[in-house]
């Protein structure tokens, strides 16, 4: 690992000011992405600003919303009674990711900011536009079985690896940040991550030194009938080949409204408004679920090794919707 300076931030203001002074500084929280990528020389910060000890570790529950501090650990959030009761999809998504040890370390903000698991991104000897702008993409002609079919470009097909973010994006979560000049922003979850386009190295709409302070998930009756289904090569401790985060608001067997997200197949946490619109007013049955799944994957582009993901993602959506429909709520 390359040498770096370590600073333990004492407040969000202290952290953002320190980052503003140092263009190659990075925030450190749980470290499950950052320390890993520093060991293999993919990330080379010369200063680490430790925000992991900031007092941003609370989960505040009101009738209207749940406010989740940036430093809340993934396990803490997944296990929280209010999350399990109001947003099962979020608890299930978190529990399907990694292992207890990693979930005990990884923070909510860190989960949002985590980097792709694309093996070419992780190999400094490979061409990767995401790691080094303009260097090319070895994944497109390479071994791309795990890669994305939605939101890709000719510059990058790396999959966004998060489970939690797929649940967050269908829950209308809002990410709150603060900058060194004390400006605060509230960013809709779907606007935090960028599709790669020509600049896959710019992964989010956050600026350098902009610190996530908390995430707000609004309470809504639809979220009680929600489910996260993850399909992968192993039963545990593996990233998704395809996943679906869904929620249904039912009037008898008729769908009042629906939420549909997919993971493991897209370059950013993916929500399909098209699929949601198709489900509205329909009978909650396989025919409508299938049409919604077709709509969600309509723009998909398969490559040599990942074409199977298009059909797999559709089946995952249909299955997740069926499970959600049958939940006792």
């Amino acid at each position: 690992m390359r040498p770096f300076t370590y600073a333990d931030a004492t407040s969000p203001a202290d952290a953002t000011l320190a980052a503003a002074r140092q263009p190659t500084a990075m925030f450190l929280a749980g470290g499950t992405t950052l320390v890993d990528l520093m060991k293999i020389d993919v990330l080379r910060p010369d200063t680490l600003i430790d925000v992991g000890h900031l007092a941003l570790g609370e989960i505040d529950v009101t009738d209207e919303e749940v406010r989740i501090g940036a430093n809340v650990r993934n396990s803490q959030l997944a296990w929280h009674p209010a999350i399990r009761d109001r947003f099962p999809v979020l608890s299930e998504a978190l529990l399907s990711g990694a292992t207890t040890q990693l979930r005990n370390m990884a923070t909510v903000a860190g989960n949002i900011m985590q980097r792709t698991r694309c093996p070419y991104f992780r190999d400094v000897h490979a061409a990767c536009n995401r790691r080094q702008r303009g260097s090319g993409c070895d994944a497109i002609p390479g071994f791309n079985r795990g890669h994305a079919v939605l939101g890709t470009s000719e510059s990058c097909i790396a999959t966004h690896p998060s489970d939690m973010c797929v649940a967050m994006v269908i829950l209308d979560a809002v990410v709150h940040t603060v900058k060194a000049d004390e400006t605060r922003r509230a960013i809709a979850f779907g606007d935090v991550h960028r599709a790669p386009g020509d600049t896959p190295d710019i992964e989010t709409t956050l600026e350098h030194g902009e610190l996530i302070t908390h995430v707000v998930v609004p309470n809504h009756p639809i979220t009680r009938r929600s489910h996260y289904l993850k399909v992968r090569d192993r039963a545990s401790y593996e990233f998704a080949l395809a996943s679906a985060a869904v929620a249904l608001d039912l009037d008898g067997r008729t769908i009042r409204s629906a939420r549909v997200g997919v993971g493991g197949v897209a370059t950013k946490p993916w929500r399909s408004i098209e699929a949601e619109k198709i489900l509205e007013g329909q009978q909650a049955a396989e025919a409508a679920f299938q049409r919604a799944a077709d709509a969600a994957l309509a723009g998909a582009i398969g490559r040599e090794h990942n074409r199977f993901k298009i059909a797999l993602a559709k089946r995952t959506i249909v299955r997740a919707l069926s499970v959600a429909r049958d939940l006792p709520v």
Binding site: M1, P3, F4, T5, Y6, D8, L28, G31, T32, V35, D36, K39, I40, L48, D50, G52, H53, R73, S75, A78, W79, R84, D85, P88, S91, E92, L95, S96, A98, T99, T100, Q101, L102, N104, M105, A235, S236, Y237
Partner: protein, 176 residues
């Protein structure tokens, strides 16, 4: 940097480079080699340690971030020479072959017991909205909850049995 923390109940202090992981600090600085370096990239769980009561991977934890924290390793598990019940269960059930992953397995299982007593769900829990009963954890639940600890000898079957024994004796102790 100067690092001051608590390891197995004792105050420890050392000068460490910012790059040193908790794993390397435990093994090389504090001479506690029970915590094992398997993959050193957050995959295998051999380096599992308990920090402030939670099981974590010491290979992905920078030592400097642990200032003031309470760290527990396999060396600190027995009390007054008596093995921890989970250690005893691993011996009783022959839950290892080469033993390299065993410290991590045992620390992970110790925390699994606490988590189960707290009634928290896992990925295989049928309904996350319902509380979990510790003594009634299925083999599937134990396998999922231990999935962060790999065993290349494949002693999994006996590890599951050892954890199940620990859960049963823990829940019978808890009974009034």
């Amino acid at each position: 940097m100067t690092l001051e923390l608590h390891v197995n109940g004792a105050d420890r202090s050392a000068d460490v480079d910012t790059r040193v992981t908790l794993l390397d600090a435990l093994r090389d600085t504090f001479h506690l080699p029970g915590t094992k370096k398997g993959c050193d990239q957050g995959t295998c769980g051999a380096c599992t340690a308990i920090v402030d009561g939670q099981r974590v991977l010491s290979c992905l934890t920078l030592a400097v971030t642990c200032a003031g924290r309470d760290v527990r390793t396999i060396e600190g598990l027995s009390e007054h020479g008596d093995l921890h019940p989970v250690q005893a269960a691993f011996l009783e059930c022959d839950a290892f072959q080469c033993g390299f992953c065993t410290p991590g397995q045992i620390l992970s299982a110790v925390c699994l017991l606490d988590e189960a007593r707290a009634g928290v769900p896992s990925h295989v829990t049928r309904d996350v909205r319902q509380p979990v009963v510790a003594g009634a954890l299925t083999d599937e639940e134990i396998r999922e909850r231990m999935s962060g600890n790999l065993c290349r000898c494949g002693a999994y079957a006996n590890i599951v049995t050892a954890v199940k024994h620990s859960l049963r004796s823990a829940s019978s102790e808890a009974r009034p």
